[in-house]
Symmetry: C2
Subunit: 111 residues, 2 copies
């Protein structure tokens, strides 16, 4: 068998600067069903980091980002979670947060 | 023994927008001695990601960032590498790149 290709994904979103405390509080209590859905769809070693002005950096590892995103898109719990999160983000227009992020290019990696 | 505390570190730097191609090329050929020094001082699963405007995101795992930074600061190879890298970054003043980065706050993690 060919070895599995693991993708390291880094993405950015912009949290509204006046809602940072709320955003952080929500992420200390992510719904257990939401965490299960992420696990089931292959989101691994997934962290979110926040700059004081609301720039949000996501990092995760997956065997395929497209598949992990499609997997989550099909979960009711994610639709509900994204609906509640949408108000925290700037510049999303009508997209959900998981549709509106900017993926960055990996330029270096050391295991 | 208490379990080791692993830190996940996310940091930002700003690469000069007119030097992105060079910066990327240098990171396709990081000196093997520099890679060894990183490994020896506990930098693990270390990636760099770049936005089109030069915003650079670093992600790494370590048993102690302060110790890993001190370890690298004591390595000649790192002093040479940081000296060559300094010209690629904006807003460093007289600091080395590994002294001038902004660490972000982790607000969520899922293993």
């Amino acid at each position: 068998m060919a070895p599995k290709l693991m993708e390291r994904v880094c993405f950015l979103l912009q949290v509204k600067p006046d809602r940072l405390d709320e955003y952080k509080a929500r992420h200390r209590e992510v719904w257990p069903e939401m965490l299960n859905a992420l696990r089931e769809t292959g989101w691994r070693n997934y962290s979110l980091f926040l700059r004081h002005d609301g720039l949000l950096v996501g990092y995760l590892e997956t065997d395929g980002l497209a598949q992990s995103l499609r997997g989550m898109a099909s979960k009711d719990i994610n639709v509900r979670w994204q609906r509640e999160m949408a108000g925290y983000f700037a510049n999303l227009d009508t997209r959900r947060p998981d549709e509106g992020f900017l993926r960055l290019e990996e330029v270096f990696h050391l295991d």
